[in-house]
């Protein structure tokens, strides 16, 4: 192994060094919270450049590392998505942290390490490399969820997330160890070869079940979802945005990679379980969201439902299904971050801006933002001119073509239910009078809202490039699965 | 082994060979070593008091026997006969178990230490020997921390906590300082480490920094002056063993001196060539000793004993000369100086080894 062999890990290397530098910087430059976001953005820019450099084919994994990590288009797609998402969250956090009550440097450093973990997850093709990446992400998330350490709710959120997350990691690891015992390897291709000859091996199925349970926890699918509402509500809002987008997208990246690359020939054994989980997630998530008056809680339940939709793509085990997962993750990330930006916009104290009432009369005071919010909600609901429609279209089509018409019916019905509670916000904004008269958005939040608005609309109206990109990204994995 | 002692070996004729090799012989060796160590430990206490007396221009114990030489027999008898007091609020079970805990690892470690040329003087030669020694010595802290807690006494508790913090802190540089030696010898087996030194030079020369850190850490590890804060008598009465009396107290005492002996043995083996007196394979090597028969083997043991004795005296010397550290200074020394220094030592050693290998081979 030489230095050149490590070139394709350049983004991760940049991020881990940058994360350490962000920790050390205050020692030299003093704790000016306002500057932290700028340095963090610079780091993300460098990481993006590195990711693009790798995407351009600069680094080819060496033999030694190639068994653990790859730099295929699938990984590159997710890496770039992660960088964009984290950059947006960094901008959202800037205003939040400028109060100076909590140090911004460690916050951004943890964010960088989390991003690093997500990138390792996206490019890992070996269960060990996937696992260490996942743990890096999870640990950083636990800390970030409890970052407002003087707020009881934040501490409670971190505690719940940590205890349940650690348990789920244990389950995941136990599943991996059983798979290793049955297949004799942790490499996804080797697993796939071994699995092809051992359908019906009970130890293997238990292993896959436990692995699936651990992954379902990470994507917050029913019945492993109970942590979601409390953690999402208690965590600082930018961190909630991080958990509900970045963390979830990363979990879906490995979910898709493990099941498509490693376990596709075992499909008859696990499809009914995943189908049940997907159906339950959609039903429970949407129905529970209807009764919520707290916007953060409502969005938490809605994110459970979105996990259910995305699972359809994993379940379908087809080209269009995987494509659907990628597209859905992309459009979901933009719409979701836009929504969270709106929640932060309305914040008056640390946690406010999270009741449905807080949106009352937004139309009058800030028509542009009210319109943006409507677009984000339509996208989350999957209504045509927005990008969410394309994502749902692909997922539902994949489910139907794979013979899960009943799931598609549930999904459509539940999307209708979701429109009901999304429209409560719209009603509040347009038809009610309220106190939301004094909205003074910071430049960063305004920027994020506009970026997300443009992205959501553009991807909805002109989706060809996105679809083609997704098709290109999934090619190596689908080729492998169909082999 | 059975070849060197055919007569004794024939006694075990009816026992299967692996049993003899793996169970019977080590047991016999260990029992002998145990008896000798007990003697040495008891004797060290006398030596310590006499040497301290000499350093401080006073006499020390000189009444029991000629020059007080029988003091080391009198002390244990006194301790055995003393009343065994259990404080009223003590946690009975923990209070009872605590003195035994440090004794077990302290003596188990002697199974792994070769006192002279193998195979006669090495009880076992495990290929992860050094790691096992570190592991065992690291568990010695439990007796102290538990004894401090169980005594239901503030001074004891503080002493126990101080000691736990100190031992955990200094375990890190203790372990790290050895890494350089391991890199040079490429083995965790103590016999192999000694063998490498007789073929080249004593590790103390290439690993001077490592040796220095080891010396400091091994003194702090056993709570000896100038790092004897857990039992700083002016602040904490007697630290964790304030409430202990009689034989229970003696156990703590015994464990401390046994640990000192272990550490002295370790530094001799790791940095000062063990039982050999050889440079670049010339001089008294293990091989020469083995060919010289019993005489050579005993010579090896004596050389080892002399080197160990020097470091035991060094401990006492430290106690006679250095003033005690303050607790924050102790922690600062450990975390801010010793650990970074040890890490730098490892990196530099690694780079030098890499350069020498690539340039030389």
């Amino acid at each position: 192994m030489t230095w050149a062999d490590l070139l394709f890990l350049l983004p991760e290397i940049v991020l881990s060094i940058g994360g350490c530098l962000l920790l050390l910087a205050p020692v030299i430059g003093g704790r000016n919270n306002g500057v932290a976001a700028k340095w963090s953005m610079l780091l993300l820019l460098v990481a993006t450049a590195a990711a693009i450099y790798v995407a351009a084919g600069a680094g080819i994994p060496s033999l030694a590392l190639g068994t653990l990590f790859v730099a295929d288009p699938f990984a590159v797609f997710f890496k770039l998505l992660f960088v964009v998402v984290i950059a947006m969250i960094t901008l959202l956090s800037a205003e939040f942290l400028e109060d100076g009550r909590y140090s911004a440097w460690e916050y951004y450093s943890l964010m960088a390490f989390a991003l690093c973990g997500m990138m390792f997850m996206a490019s890992g093709t070996h269960l060990i490399s996937i696992y260490v990446g996942l743990e890096l992400l999870s640990l950083a998330s636990y800390i970030l969820a409890g970052y407002y350490k003087n707020e009881t709710r934040s501490t409670e959120a971190a505690m719940k997330y940590f205890v349940l997350g650690a348990t789920s990691s244990g389950i995941l690891l136990y599943g991996m160890s059983l798979i290793y015992g049955a297949c004799g390897s942790l490499h996804l291709e080797a697993i796939s070869q071994a699995v092809a000859t051992m359908a019906g091996n009970q130890a293997l199925i238990i292993g896959v079940m436990l692995l699936g349970a651990g992954l379902c926890f990470k994507v917050a699918a029913v019945p492993f979802h109970v942590w979601t509402p409390d953690v999402y509500t208690g965590a600082p809002t930018p961190v909630t945005a991080f958990l509900s987008t970045a963390s979830k997208v990363a979990a879906f990246a490995i979910f898709a990679r493990i099941f498509y690359m490693g376990l596709h020939s075992l499909e008859p054994d696990w499809n009914s379980i995943i189908a049940t989980v997907a159906a339950l997630s959609m039903i429970v998530g949407n129905l529970a969201a209807v009764t919520q008056t707290n916007v953060k809680r409502m969005l938490a339940y809605s994110s459970i439902a979105h996990a259910g939709y995305a699972l359809l793509g994993v379940l379908a085990m087809s080209e269009i299904g995987l494509q659907g997962v990628l597209i859905y993750m992309l459009v979901y990330a933009f719409a979701n971050i836009g929504t969270w930006a709106m929640v932060m916009l309305l914040r008056r104290r640390e946690y406010a801006g999270e009741n449905v009432d807080d949106f009352d009369g937004l139309h009058k005071s800030a028509p542009l933002y009210a319109f943006a919010m409507v677009v984000f909600l339509l996208s989350l609901g999957g209504i045509p001119p927005t990008a969410g429609f394309i994502g749902k279209y692909y997922l539902f089509a994949a489910a139907i073509s794979a013979g899960y018409a009943w799931l598609a019916v549930i999904a459509v019905l539940m999307s209708a239910v979701s429109m009901f509670y999304y429209f409560r916000l719209v009603v509040a904004m347009y038809l009610k009078d309220g106190a939301a008269a004094d909205v003074i958005p910071s430049r960063q939040v305004r920027f994020i809202v506009i970026v997300c608005l443009i992205a959501t609309l553009t991807l909805g109206i002109l989706p060809e490039r996105m679809i083609r990109g997704a098709a290109r990204s999934i090619a190596p994995i689908v080729n492998l699965a169909s082999r | 082994m059975s070849a060197t002692l055919p007569v004794v070996a024939s006694l075990f004729g009816s026992i299967p060979e692996p049993m003899v090799q793996w169970v019977v012989w080590p047991t016999i060796k260990f029992v002998i070593a145990f008896a000798i160590i007990m003697g040495i430990v008891a004797f060290t206490t006398l030596v310590e008091r006499r040497v301290l007396g000499f350093m401080q221009a006073r006499l020390g114990p000189n009444r029991v026997g000629p020059q007080g030489i029988l003091q080391f027999v009198a002390d244990p008898i006194k301790l055995l006969l003393k009343e065994d007091i259990v404080p009223a609020g003590a946690q009975k079970a923990a209070y009872f178990i605590a003195p035994m805990l440090p004794i077990i690892p302290a003596f188990l470690v002697f199974c792994l230490i070769p006192f002279g040329p193998p195979p006669t003087f090495a009880i076992t030669d495990v290929n992860v020997g050094l790691l096992l020694i570190l592991a065992l010595t690291s568990t010695g802290v439990y007796g102290i921390i538990l004894g401090g807690w169980a005594s239901n006494n503030k001074f004891s508790l503080l002493g126990g906590l101080r000691s736990a913090a100190q031992m955990v802190s200094y375990e890190v540089p203790f372990g790290l300082s050895i890494v350089g030696v391991l890199m040079l010898s490429g083995s965790l087996s103590l016999v192999e480490i000694v063998h490498r030194q007789e073929l080249g030079v004593w590790n103390v020369l290439p690993q001077l920094v490592g040796c220095f850190i080891f010396l400091v850490a091994m003194t702090a590890e056993v709570n000896r002056a100038p790092f004897d804060l857990p039992e700083a008598e002016s602040e904490l009465v007697a630290g964790f063993h304030t409430e202990y009396s009689g034989m229970k107290f003696a156990f703590f005492f015994l464990a401390e001196y046994a640990s000192m002996l272990v550490n002295a043995c370790l530094i001799v083996i790791l940095f000062f060539g063990g039982w050999t007196l050889a440079i670049a394979g010339k001089g008294l090597t293990t091989e020469t000793m083995q060919t010289m028969g019993w005489l050579g083997l005993s010579l090896g043991f004596l050389i080892f004993a002399a080197k160990v004795a020097f470091f035991m005296i060094l401990y006492i010397w430290f106690r006679g000369t250095f003033p005690r550290y303050r607790f924050d200074q102790l922690m600062e020394l450990g975390w801010k100086w010793m650990i970074p220094l040890a890490l730098v030592n490892i990196v530099v050693t690694g780079i030098v080894i890499l350069l020498v290998r690539n340039g030389g081979a």
Partner: protein, 229 residues
């Protein structure tokens, strides 16, 4: 070194005894009402697990288990428990209906898993002697020829001595990058502990710190002050 535990039946007996102690003490860890006792039983569990590792020929892992868990982590556990000074938890009813349901579910799950796993088919063991005892090492030798100095590499198969080397090969060669990620993970854990645990002192508390600890006064000055020189 040949396996010392080839004595007939000894390894089995050892496994049964030590395993039973490990299970019993791990149950005691959760059922003891005094946290110090719990911690001590956890220590016993760790030691038993270390013995099991050694009896399976993994001396390195066994030694590291004792060194790290017994020697480091558990000491810190005890340290914290004693600093907080929880004497004993209040008596409460442990066997409530809910917890009995939990126990029942656990037992059922154990039985199901045991039945299924016992009948499962497994991949051939990777720790078979022929797999473990050799390692492929890339040997580099500098060669000076007409074209100048070049580095010649060849792969050599040689015996692995003991499992410390085998673990080293796995960690630092095969799984180097995951190993480094694990070190990042530890760094994040450390940062998190400090970020969450650190308490910002207010002005009055900062005043209360002794000057020599806050390093406002150097040791020499303090010595002068104390001795009156």
């Amino acid at each position: 070194m040949t396996d010392p535990l080839m004595l007939t039946g000894v390894s089995l007996a050892l496994f049964v005894i030590v395993g039973a102690i490990a299970v019993a003490s791990s149950i005691l860890v959760v059922s003891m009402r005094n946290p110090v006792h719990s911690a001590l039983f956890l220590l016993l569990t760790f030691l038993c697990v270390a013995i099991l590792f050694v009896s399976m020929g993994a001396e390195f892992v066994g030694a590291v288990q004792v060194l790290v868990y017994a020697g480091g982590i558990m000491v810190l556990f005890l340290f914290v428990v004693m600093l907080i000074n929880v004497k004993a938890l209040p008596k409460e009813k442990v066997f409530t209906a809910t917890s009995m349901m939990g126990v029942l579910m656990g037992v059922l799950l154990f039985i199901i898993l045991a039945i299924i796993l016992a009948s499962g088919t497994w991949a051939p063991a990777v720790n078979a002697p022929e797999n473990l005892r050799t390692a492929v090492v890339v040997k580099t030798t500098p060669v000076v020829d007409a074209g100048g100095a070049t580095i010649q590499t060849e792969t050599v198969t040689r015996d692995v001595v003991g499992n410390a080397e085998a673990v080293g090969m796995a960690l630092y060669r095969d799984y180097l990058v995951p190993f480094e990620v694990a070190s990042l993970f530890l760094l994040v854990a450390m940062v998190g502990a400090i970020v969450i645990g650190k308490r910002e002192l207010d002005a009055s508390e900062e005043e209360a710190i002794p000057e020599f600890i806050a390093k406002k006064v150097s040791d020499e000055d303090r010595l002068k002050e104390v001795t009156g020189a």
